[in-house]
């Protein structure tokens, strides 16, 4: 069985991170596995964790009254998800559900926050990775918002 820091080194999110840091934050992580259909977290629950997907597919959902659970986005191997643990009030905004058997590294948010606060260099490196991921996700969502495939009938 590979140790957490080795798993992280293979994950695109952590690509190029100094080995010392990998080891350091690996201490906050643990291996997790979710059966298909299982919720990983629910809207409104306390956000304690952050996940790096190693394998599988996760759907971010929201429940729309009258329409039911609606998938906003799916995430796959190589993606990370969960950033509600960074800022107060540390509550999940969406549901996350495993669509397929999903293996991930789950990080303890309090542990990560403490390490980042304690080592500004690590915190900066970590937050830069987060910002890049969030920006990319935001671009994609903006494009989704455009509803480019929608029919607009004018004449």
């Amino acid at each position: 069985m590979k140790t957490i820091d080795v798993l992280l080194a293979e994950h695109p999110f952590f690509q190029g991170m100094a080995p010392g840091y990998l080891e350091f934050i690996a201490g906050c992580g643990r291996n997790v596995q979710f059966e298909p259909g299982r919720y990983i977290h629910r809207e409104g629950q306390e956000a304690n964790e952050f996940y790096a997907i190693r394998h599988g597919k996760v759907a971010l959902e929201i429940f729309v009254p009258g329409r039911g659970p609606t998938t906003l986005q799916t995430l796959d191997e190589g993606d990370v998800f969960g950033w509600s643990w960074i800022f107060p009030p540390y509550k999940w905004v969406f549901d996350a559900r495993a669509v397929e058997l999903t293996r991930a590294v789950a990080f303890d948010g309090v542990c990560l926050r403490t390490k980042c606060e304690g080592d500004a260099q690590l915190g900066y490196d970590f937050m830069k990775r987060f910002a890049q991921m969030v920006a990319k996700r935001l671009d994609a969502v903006r494009l989704q918002l455009l509803d480019v495939y929608g029919t607009v009938e004018r004449r």
């Binding site: 329409r67 609606t70 998938t71 986005q73 799916t74 669509v99 994609a140 494009l143 455009l146 029919t151």
Partner: protein, 296 residues
């Protein structure tokens, strides 16, 4: 004195009686609808054959025809059939205006006018020896379908073959039978994503551009064929270049107001190009300067 410089190469009397039959392309030929299949709520696939069993329309992937409905009008529609089977014309039409509505309402046995084929082709043969990445969005799957027919018919000539296809919802996916068929092949990769879905959808949700990062291709030598709404193509082009592809490896199919289809009416211009005859397929470097200029 060899000839008059005013272009009067023939005596005026001869010019008066010169045949006025327009060359191929200007006058439609009569085609009969042999099949009409509902793809989605607003999109239908028509199969057409020449009424008089006349000459089949040979076409290259990426080209389009002008379809005419008597008394309603004419529209450009890309050819979606198998270039290896030119005896039947296949057109997938989305009902968005008066003419496309009339086309979608046609029944088996109805007759339409067809001019074509027109325009430039996807350089499918030039991609031989390399990976082929097809990226389609919405109705943009229709103009790229002939690429897949051609490439899969000559599978050994190509490297990896990948289709990334984005649609609005699972119910908006076209050619679902083809998708299942292609996906079942061991030598082609099909990834589908939608903008939004309910619980019954077990596939990807997100824009098609998000699939590019993981597409199993060798970016350095692959050829990408991209078709969809212009905004989507711009984002896809960015993602492909982030993957390491050069502009000249990326081909787009553009849509403009094509009325005459032969470069004479002036409507479909984009900068120096007539999209109807210089396009609709362009490599990215040719059109890149104009794609980000507003209202070009």
């Amino acid at each position: 004195m060899a000839e008059a410089p005013t272009g009067v190469q023939t005596p005026a009397s001869a010019a008066r009686h010169a045949a006025q039959r327009p060359p191929a392309g200007l006058l439609p030929a009569s085609f009969r609808v042999t099949s009409r299949r509902r793809e989605t709520r607003d999109t239908f696939t028509l199969e057409l054959v020449p009424v008089d069993g006349g000459p089949e329309i040979r076409f290259e992937p990426g080209q389009f025809n002008m379809l005419y409905v008597l008394g309603v009008g004419e529209v450009p529609i890309s050819i979606s059939g198998d270039p290896g089977r030119p005896s039947t014309l296949v057109h997938t039409v989305r009902s968005v205006g008066a003419v496309t509505r009339a086309l979608c309402a046609l029944r088996k046995g109805d007759v339409v006018g067809v001019r074509g084929p027109f325009g430039s082709a996807w350089p499918v043969d030039a991609a031989a020896g390399h990976d082929v990445l097809v990226v389609a969005g919405g109705i943009g799957i229709a103009p790229v379908r002939p690429i897949l027919h051609r490439v899969l018919a000559q599978r050994a000539r190509y490297g990896r073959v990948v289709l990334l296809y984005g649609a609005r919802t699972p119910a908006d996916l076209l050619y679902t039978r083809d998708l299942e068929h292609w996906r079942s092949r061991l030598d082609a990769e099909v990834q589908v994503t939608v903008d939004s879905a309910d619980r019954t959808w077990r596939g990807n949700v997100g824009t098609v551009a998000t699939l590019i990062g993981r597409a199993p291709i060798d970016a350095e030598q692959a050829t990408a064929f991209v078709c969809g709404p212009e905004v989507m193509m711009r984002f896809v082009a960015i993602a492909l270049q982030q993957r390491g592809m050069a502009g000249r490896q990326i081909f787009l199919s553009l849509e403009r107001n094509m009325t005459c289809a032969v470069g004479l009416c002036g409507h479909c211009q984009l900068g120096p190009y007539f999209v109807c005859k210089d396009g609709p397929v362009f490599d990215l470097p040719r059109v890149r300067p104009f794609l980000t200029v507003r209202e070009m």
